[in-house]
Symmetry: C2
Subunit: 339 residues, 2 copies
């Protein structure tokens, strides 16, 4: 798992189970692996949680990062238990001597450290007159210098705020100042309803600007939702592929078939397909043929019948009753062909 440089942007999440509950944590991580999570972080609030990492690591395949706050000794324990990465928060672990101990242990094992700055827990020493973005960058740079002075460069940095423009500003600033991979995300983004939008606007803007090497979408929900949303964000910018893409028209007063129902049915059936196939479900002759032609498989529906397109070629006319079945059987066929 390489994070940074020209590598694909890595999707990560964090468990919401009690880390000391080893079975629940393993089960949650296995579920995340199944939906494409590539790195997982676990909270390490105490020694028992740190020691649990050893058993958890044996049962999972993706790298595990220990999330450490307040007590540097938990970082040492997590490393001894086999953690593949550490996240330290400069807002609550900032005694250079203690950080030195952690850095030496991480260097020995060649384990990366993320300097995870969060606007909700900034060090109290930073200048309160500066903006939140400036304070986050200052806190991160101080820690980066400390790690560099200890001859350590396996560094990742994150600068998360719940305010989207603050987050974007902070990442743009630090991207100009350091060469290390950036972990991006909007913190405390909220429930899926609004949190997905806040995360998509914030990380999407950063990714479009070329900023971000690994992404975590924080949602007040099951972590599976975080992974799915992260892939949708990356897919929307053509940065990663994962499963089908469904293009469908909003429908309007011009539409003569129930496009909302058809699109929902197609979406439900596409859920079992893992190929990155592009499907278009369109409701009229305005943009229908154009979009359907650009997709791998597309249908442009008119009154009672639709025109089916495959890789830009018109391949047939379908009766309304057969829209779903014909589309899905063509998709299945295309998936077979591409194996």
């Amino acid at each position: 798992m390489t994070v940074g440089g020209q590598s694909p942007i890595v999707v990560q999440s964090m468990t919401k189970t009690d880390t000391r509950d080893i079975m629940s944590t393993i089960n949650q991580i296995k579920g995340l692996e199944d939906c494409g999570c590539e790195l997982v972080r676990v909270a390490v609030p105490d020694a028992e949680a740190a020691q649990s990492i050893q058993a958890i690591k044996k049962a999972i395949t993706i790298p595990l990062i220990a999330d450490i706050h307040f007590d540097y000794r938990l970082a040492l324990m997590a490393l001894a238990a086999g953690a593949d990465g550490l996240r330290l928060n400069p807002g609550n672990i900032n005694e250079p001597e203690n950080i030195g101990k952690v850095v030496r242990a991480a260097r020995e094992r060649q384990v990366p450290i993320r300097i995870g700055v969060n606007a909700g827990s900034l060090p109290t020493t930073t200048d309160p007159q500066s903006t939140a973005a400036e304070r986050m960058v200052t806190a991160a740079l101080e820690q980066v210098k400390l790690l560099e002075s200890l001859d350590f460069d396996l560094i990742k940095v994150s600068l998360k705020a719940s305010d989207v423009p603050t987050t974007i500003e902070a990442y743009q600033d630090i991207a100009r100042k350091i060469p290390y991979p950036l972990h991006i995300g909007i913190t405390e983004a909220g429930t899926p309803k609004t949190g997905i939008i806040r995360s998509a606007v914030g990380t999407g803007t950063l990714l479009y600007l070329g900023i971000g090497d690994t992404i975590r979408v924080s949602l007040t929900a099951h972590p599976r939702e975080e992974v799915i949303a992260a892939y949708e964000i990356l897919k929307s910018l053509n940065l990663r592929q994962r499963g089908p893409i469904l293009i469908s028209c909003p429908s309007c007063g011009r539409t003569e078939v129930d496009i909302v129902k058809l699109a929902q049915e197609v979406e439900a059936q596409l859920a079992t397909i893992d190929r990155p196939i592009k499907v278009a479900v369109m409701g009229c002759v305005v943009n229908g043929p154009g979009e359907a032609r650009e997709a791998d498989i597309g249908i442009a529906c008119g009154k009672g019948r639709g025109v089916l397109f495959k890789k830009g070629e018109k391949i047939g006319v379908v009766e309304e009753a057969d829209f779903l079945n014909t589309l899905m059987s063509e998709i299945e066929k295309m998936c077979q062909e591409s194996r």
Copy 2:
């Protein structure tokens, strides 16, 4: 309703009813008005739809835009019926003589025209060797020049593709080339599940870059969902206010209360509040106090009890059983105070 310049970014949507079904269309528009829609577009596929505008206009309060394709005469009828704006598609109405007739009628009434370019219906005359973004910009600029040559400048432009980077690229290019307000959106973005993410990434990036005067989120769903999503995108960038903002932590192995449940309950109760109040529901001592302090009302929950913050001040300690009620009664109190 001013679109462009320093005016707030206007939220719009499009009806999905048959425009000829006047009662259904009025009802849908009234529902959209209730959730904050500020401009509404209706499809005008035939003369009966154009004539329906007159009756629809009488029953609604927001401006109505007629969406015209193929037949310029429908634009003339829509203007005669009282449409407050026109959307023309250069991909299917491009005879200068006919456009001239529409422009003269619009100028007489001082009705704006949106040049609505869509990647799925580009004019066939544009150079097929160029990129989709270039072809969209070329098509729009040709039409802009034609309208300017007819001494008309009440122009808006949109350049929508279903591909997000193509859309962003096209808008960035045209924003440098013309002074007119831009209507932004991702076309055929799909069902809410993925369409909201594609729209948030695309329009969010544009808005962050300072591009966009009015927004339409296209979703294969009820248009109410489009309006709600548009506001959430604008709110995430602090460009518009509408109702409360809920900051909530994703929870993790450190959390000792059911934050997902609490956040969902708070979200449900906030739905009835229209004040732009910022509420934080946080699950631990790491970022909890910091975020709760930044919110108007916030709670940082620990095991069995939480600390309540109001406008940055700690105002009390709450037992777990009272989290929801205490938080909501403080929110109600703050809403009363701000009236």
